[in-house]
Symmetry: C2
Amino acid sequence: MDPHLLRTYVTVARLASFSEAARELGYTQSAVSQHIQALELDLGAPLLTRRPVAPTAAGERLLEHAGPLLLRLDAARADVVRMASAPEHGLTLAAAPTALAARVLAALPAAGVTLRVLPRDAIPAAVATGTADLGLVDGLAAPSDPLRLPDVAPLTTRGTGEEPVCVLLPAGHPLARRPGLRLGDLADARWLDAPDAGLPLAHLRAANGGHGFRTALRYDGTDLHTLTSLAAAGRGLTLLPRSMATGVAGTAAVPVTEPRVVHRTELVHTGAPRGAAARLVDVLTG
Amino acid sequence: MDPHLLRTYVTVARLASFSEAARELGYTQSAVSQHIQALELDLGAPLLTRRPVAPTAAGERLLEHAGPLLLRLDAARADVVRMASAPEHGLTLAAAPTALAARVLAALPAAGVTLRVLPRDAIPAAVATGTADLGLVDGLAAPSDPLRLPDVAPLTTRGTGEEPVCVLLPAGHPLARRPGLRLGDLADARWLDAPDAGLPLAHLRAANGGHGFRTALRYDGTDLHTLTSLAAAGRGLTLLPRSMATGVAGTAAVPVTEPRVVHRTELVHTGAPRGAAARLVDVLTG
DNA sequence: GCCTCTCATCAGCATCGCTTATCGAGCATG
DNA sequence: CATGCTCGATAAGCGATGCTGATGAGAGGC
């Protein structure tokens, strides 16, 4: 199973067209056809129906494998190449929006930093493929429990901080004056589902036993300000680390007391970071 | 980065010899040499020192990537091939020794089952590559928390049971008559480290905050009987699920009360199991 | 000093994988 | 219903790739 073939297979499947895939990949249509044939011959099963072009059951299964596989391959390649030739091209930090606490921002070197805000799941991949030197991911976890990250490559993760989580309520909300809240009491409320900007509702459901937390509005984007504005406008509840939930105009931040979960952020990097990256790692974890 | 090249690279690194690797792979020494050259040219860095043959820093890094990568590749291939041609070759179940509770054994079909006891980490790989149809892994976890498994492929895991954990003490031990024990009180005791037969000490340390649990004797092997005999002989303490800890001659099993961890076992399988495998999944999880 | 072992290098040759060209099937159009 | 168009399969040709076998160049042992 040549990765080359795999790559053309996934683009054919994505574009649902041999000719389109050929154009995108810079091959002839004939070559693409032969690639697919080779794969099907190798695996002993048809992977695509032609006319219309769509994956078969076996093809679907292959697609599930192919993504992570190609990602890992790229990551391995990038990692080794980087280790060989470190051009010291400045420091790139990939982070989820809710991972960028004030103390992180304060710790960044004065110059030469590129900050890249990405959806949470894209961060390990970005670090693995060398798109970023360091990554900051966050999520809900039991106190001092590590986060669960997708393992795309041998990455090192180190905790950089934990803080309480708060529910962000519109200022007039009946529960807004409470000193603390149980998540279970809010399972029937309507929530904002903003997996890229805030904390994924899935985390929340997991922390609470797997149900409830119906979504009122889904927000795809990484802008925290939009999220807090939505919360202030009463479009739904959302969970944020305390430092980001407090002081938002038109809202009240009420700490979650039950279950005992914290907002945890972790630093992700490959092997041995060097130069500015290493210094930042020390500052953030030390 | 052709997986072919990667494969020869890892065997060269393992055998520390081009010629040996050539023999093992069925190539000429010349071909192996060219493979390595191609890889080094591709990645732009030397991967091996010659004379003696040993990986460079970049090579070490590549080795870390190569293992999981090749495993995933095999897994993907095996998975798709299996899906295409299911020869219904009987049912193979791979399991860690401590995952084989009596109720699991009772649930197995009367005939046509191959039971394969493997080290815990090898089980997901066995399932992914099709060496086994189903896997049973176990470990310590907070109640109703899933286990952390290495993700070699898109696998499905489903909990099949949780039970209390006990410390297995030799019959005469001063703590043997206690109704319950705190792990923290035993952190300074001497433990058996039997990652393949019992529960890895690492789990234990993780459950208790990361320290203590010095190892008295390490046992590499998957035989539970040897492990309990060692415990009975006073060679060290070990942790077992209650059902396996009770009734062992010469020992006392004392439940762990603090921290609140359980012995959890999970069933691992790929996509949609069929035939006998599907029935067993239903019986064990339903 | 010679032999041996190991890896690098070179030439030769078969195979592989791409392109160009052509074909046949499905589908819309007039 | 014929025409033209698009899309994928297939055939032929050709250059690149990747293997083998032979030879060369160091390092170490007797």
